[in-house]
């Protein structure tokens, strides 16, 4: 049976046996054969083929299986709307899943694979079962079947994932290269058919800068599908003349294989340009970001499938696509063809297929078709069955025939009598669906036109400027398309105020003989059954999401009769094709079921993007080092040359530690920290944020921004302080130094300078514009080498002219002078808690300063240290890092800074500290923790509880924010935020480690080393 045999065993094909290729004609180059592989077999096609046309030429019908029912699927269309078979291209790093074979130009050595469900080329158990037992997979089956019992959900989820992944997930990094391009133009024309060509030329002639984007490899739209007849040749000549003149205009750029996928506010459109292997080295795709003053939407129309039983069998194709394969690719998909239609256009397919030697029968839903094309078909001897419908398709993996029945006059049922017609292709046409997605995205309203049977553009958008023209506007004749395109192009150019040229004359007359007078179509939601019962078989509305008429009927009955509900309940239109061919048929079935017109239902939202866009294209070149700026200090070359291990801190790359040969990072950190406590260490602190604040009102301004007053700070003195946001939450902390009466230097967190500068500017510009103050970020203007430890003064004395006597250069002050002959500002600030000198020199001298200090330090055992030792030293002192030891809830009161006096001066965030919730004593407060096992280091994020044997749910007391092993204290230490922690000093609580279970810890004050702070004053 089908379900237990490999899917691609249909008639073995010898390599290069293009059994369905016509002897002559078409736009392919027979002198350039191309070898390609599909699912492990070798084939040959020609230059100019798509993968789809080459497969059809080789008689390959079955391309994969559908995702829900595992049904065999083949090629349905010839274009971007392909709802049938998606394939996987390439393998390894070049693997690309979910590719429409209709959009892949054939190239030598191309390798493609069928996509199966579930993955694998062997038997197809779940899909096979699903097709036969589909009553167990009703719409919404995810929610219904698998929701209970809850404990089994993981099992269901695994099953569903396996069944639903129709494509392999690439396991290697995408080897393709992607680019971004920004474009600006007066007029963007989307679509290069007759309307788009006319619009682009009209706008271009008027002097506008024009971008014309078309998703096909060739411009001309439907005209390039015309047969090799005088009229067809005239059509192609017209296209060539239009393209030729467009190419001659310097302000017109034409982009082929470019899909516009999104229309955003203020005429900002996103497009994806397929570059393929046309460039060396090739960017696979370019993401285009286009800002256009005016947009002409000439997006055309796609053919509407008919809905009848087993209309998904490989060989059931859109009639227009059959024409495309015949005329553009010289491929006859099958020698016996049933054309099933509700309108006149499919008769062209019948005529041209018969002309190419096929045996053709037309089955027309309409009781009395009499249009010009119908008369021509009859005159050509083609059998026409009016008032009939296809009621069954024979064959499972490929069409073998159809069953035909007469339709009752009102279209509500079919007769009991059936006849069988053998055929290998069903070419169906249910009319044409204007591609209105971009117009809708632009903010335009749609209206339903019963004569078209579809939505067309209505009220234009107010925010954006988009003009529909041609088939997407519901105008299908060539003359109307050209006229509308011309008018839209001229109007857009005029609106864009780009030029004064009139462009009024028709650029080239449209070719004759392509417009036949047509009779109206007859729309049926789906082929009905013989009254009163339904027909056997599944009538598919959406091939990609496997949604049938029965699914929609059931969903409506269960109360999901609103279009957005129906979509989510059945997954209608949620496939990779975004419902381009299925959404309207779904609405028609729903409208029929509800007994209302389609226009009364509305339509689902056409969200961006209209087709899947690769993450690679979205990321573009912004990968690895190009993802975000990487900042290095002036001393970086020395760190690199001396074996530093680096870490990223924000955008800075800083030394984590400097391991000696044979030393682990942990050993290095302990050695570095010990040196800074007992000898002298050297830290590159250049990343520290630095902002200069200057002006007559600088003191007043800073007084309003910091918790601690800046008033009265003497020139040359420093003061620590916290900055709050208006909610009272600590936002940054740092030291303010007064350089002059009206001139201050603030230090900020290493990653916080930009944020703080913006914060200061916000208050100055929006709240207190009367203050005469200027702020400038000088972080990168100054390098900072910090000497730390009891020997720091002795070392610095060797290289400076500054008086280092502690009486004249006390703690929390700044002196200017020279260090190693370089102009320097030296600060006595102690983030380590020990004697410390922060030496700032202009950035260009940073490396020289560092190297001088290292040379001078040789006799002192000077030890460079990194960020990890720096954090360990500050943790021993209980100094916080804002953002690590605090989060978006922590106030200075929580950190033990005390409640400010209510009557004293105001500062930003002060009032919030007095809100009732901010004064509660069970708020999380900063404390220290000592583990029962002194060697155990608590990971950051470890939660604390009151009880060692918890039964869920367990309230958390708080969590660890910093944890280290401290060589100076001789044991592990931690900082934590603990509810009411300051009132629980000495108590033992339980730490729950992610690995390792509960561990008792004692709450202590958040300072483990030199609690009286005497060493820093040394």
């Amino acid at each position: 049976m089908d379900g237990v045999t490999p899917i691609l065993d249909a008639c073995p094909v010898r390599r290069a046996a293009q059994t369905n290729r016509l002897a002559g004609g078409g736009g392919i180059d027979r002198s350039r054969p191309l070898d390609f592989r599909f699912d492990g077999r070798d084939y040959q096609g020609y230059a100019g083929d798509t993968l789809a046309s080459a497969l059809l030429a080789n008689g390959v019908r079955l391309l994969g299986r559908s995702y829900k029912y595992g049904r065999p699927r083949g090629i349905v269309s010839a274009g971007p709307e392909e709802p049938g078979a998606l394939v996987t291209l390439g393998s390894g790093a070049a693997l690309e899943p979910n590719i429409r074979p209709t959009m892949v130009p054939l190239r030598q050595g191309l390798e493609a694979f069928a996509q199966l469900s579930p993955a694998g080329t062997g038997p197809d158990p779940l899909g096979w079962i699903a097709d036969r037992f589909s009553r167990f997979l009703p719409p919404g089956f995810y929610y219904k079947t698998f929701s209970w019992p809850r404990r089994l959900w993981p099992l269901y989820e695994r099953m569903l994932r396996k069944a639903a992944s129709s494509a392999p997930v690439p396991e290697q990094r995408d080897a393709n290269r992607y680019e971004h391009r920004y474009m600006h133009c007066d007029v963007l024309v989307v679509g290069g058919g007759p309307a788009g060509l006319a619009a682009a030329l009209a706008a271009g002639r008027a002097g506008a800068s024009v971008v014309l984007a078309d998703e096909n490899a060739e411009l001309g739209g439907a005209l390039i599908d015309e047969p090799d007849t005088p009229a067809g040749r005239a059509a192609r000549a017209w296209v060539a003349a239009m393209v030729g003149e467009l190419d001659s205009l310097p302000e017109v750029e034409t982009l082929k294989r470019t899909s516009v996928v999104a229309f955003h506010d203020h005429n900002y459109l996103i497009a994806v340009e397929e570059r393929g292997d046309s460039m060396v080295p090739p960017p696979a795709q370019r993401l285009l970001k286009i800002r256009a003053r005016e947009v002409v939407l000439a997006t055309g129309a796609v053919e509407r499938p008919l809905v009848f039983p087993d209309n998904d069998r490989p060989g059931v194709m859109l009639a227009g696509a059959v024409r495309t394969y015949l005329n553009r690719y010289a491929v006859m998909p099958g020698q016996t063809m049933v054309v099933f239609t509700n309108n006149d256009t499919a008769y062209r397919t019948a005529l041209e297929a018969a002309g190419a030697g096929a045996r053709v029968t037309v089955v027309d839903i309409r009781p009395q078709p009499r249009g010009a094309l119908v008369r021509r078909a009859r005159a050509a001897g083609i059998g026409v069955l009016p008032g009939h419908a296809v009621t069954a398709v024979r064959g499972r993996r490929a069409v073998r025939g159809v069953e035909i029945r007469a339709l009752a006059d009102d279209g509500r049922g079919v007769g009991a009598a059936a006849m069988e017609l053998p055929c290998s292709v069903v070419a169906m046409s249910g009319g044409w669906i204007p591609s209105v997605q971009l117009f809708s995205q632009s903010g335009g309203r749609l209206r339903f036109r019963p004569d078209v049977g579809a939505h067309v553009p209505g009220e234009p958008p107010t925010l954006n400027r988009s003009r529909p023209a041609g088939a997407c506007n519901g105008s299908f004749t060539l003359s109307a398309c050209v006229a509308e395109g011309l008018a839209a192009g001229q109007a857009a150019a005029g609106q864009a105020e780009a030029g004064v040229g009139s462009g009024a004359e028709i650029p080239h007359p449209p070719p004759p003989g392509t417009d036949d007078e047509e009779e109206p179509a007859l729309f049926l939601p789906h082929v009905p059954g013989p009254l009163p019962g339904p027909l056997p078989g599944k009538s598919f509305v959406d091939l990609q999401s496997d949604v049938t008429v029965a699914d929609i009927v059931l969903a409506e009955r269960e109360g999901y009769g609103a279009v957005e509900h129906l979509k989510r309940y059945t997954a209608l239109g949620m496939g990779a094709d975004q419902g381009r061919t299925s959404a309207l048929n779904g609405l028609a079935v729903l409208a029929g079921q509800r007994g209302v017109g389609i226009g009364a239902l509305g339509h689902t939202t056409f969200r961006p993007n209209l087709k899947p866009v690769r993450f690679g294209a979205i990321a573009g070149p912004h990968l690895g080092p190009s993802f975000t700026p990487q900042r290095r200090t002036p001393m970086h070359p020395w760190h690199e040359a001396n074996g530093a291990v680096f870490e990223d801190t924000g955008t800075w790359i800083r030394p984590f530690c400097f391991p000696n040969p044979g030393e682990t990072a942990e050993q290095a950190v302990r050695r570095e920290a010990r040196a800074a406590r007992t000898g002298v260490g050297l830290l590159d602190a250049s990343t520290l944020g630095k902002i200069e604040v200057q002006g007559p009102d600088a003191e007043e301004f800073l007084d309003r921004m910091y918790v601690t007053t800046r008033r009265g700070l003497a020139v040359g003195r420093c003061r620590y302080g916290m900055m709050l946001n208006e909610n009272g939450v600590v936002f940054d902390d740092g030291v303010t130094t007064r350089l002059a009466p009206d001139h201050f230097l603030l230090s900020t967190n290493s990653s916080g300078a930009a944020r703080v500068l913006r914060w200061l500017e916000e208050w100055l510009q929006t709240e207190w514009p009367d203050l005469d103050v200027f702020c400038t970020c000088v972080t990168e203007q100054w390098a900072n080498a910090t000497l730390v430890g009891p020997l720091a003064r002795d070392l610095l004395r060797q290289v400076t002219d500054i008086d280092l006597d502690p009486a004249r250069f006390p703690f929390m002050s700044m002196r200017q002078g020279t260090v190693a002959g370089l102009p320097a500002r030296v600060f006595r600030i102690a983030y380590s808690g020990d004697l410390s000198f922060e030496i700032n020199v202009p950035a260009r001298h940073g490396l020289a300063l560092w190297e001088s200090l290292v040379r001078a330090g040789e006799t002192f055992g000077l030890t460079p240290y990194g960020t990890e030792a720096m954090h360990l030293l500050r943790a021993e002192k209980g100094f916080i890092v804002v953002g690590q030891d605090t989060d978006g809830t922590v106030t200075p009161v929580d950190l033990g800074q005390g409640v400010p006096a209510a009557t004293a001066r105001d500062f930003v965030g002060k009032r919030s500290l007095f809100r009732a919730d901010m004064l509660r004593d069970d708020r999380k407060q900063l404390v220290g923790l000592l583990t029962a096992d002194p060697s155990l280091v608590l990971p950051v994020g470890t939660h604390l509880t009151d009880t060692p044997r918890p039964v869920p749910p367990v309230p958390t007391l708080g969590f660890v924010t910093t944890g280290h092993f401290s060589p100076a204290v001789g044991r592990s230490i931690a900082l934590a935020l603990v509810a009411g922690g300051r009132g629980r000093l000495g108590e033992t609580v339980t730490a729950y480690r992610r690995d390792g279970g509960p561990h008792p810890v004692t709450i202590v004050p958040p300072c483990f080393y030199d609690p009286d702070g005497e060493r820093r004053h040394a």
Partner: protein
Amino acid sequence: MLVIRCPWCSERDQTEFSYHGEAHIARPATPMDRTDEQWGDYLFFRSNTRGPHRERWLHAAGCRRWFNLLRDTATGRILAVYRPDEPPPAATAG
């Protein structure tokens, strides 16, 4: 994505700007005199307008200056741009 006319730099893409909520929220002159409820109103409560909305923007990747837009939140249409020292224009729908 909007095109925004910075009063100092002219038209730029929205990516150069950052949005900072409703404009003209007056900070109480004497915060400590406010009740918790009054202070909460100032901190947290905004008008959530559907229609013309006065809002603050910063030309963050440009001149780094703050200014105000009158923007229709229902349509995305920008009705007016004005500097912090200019009087707010009348809010008429667009």
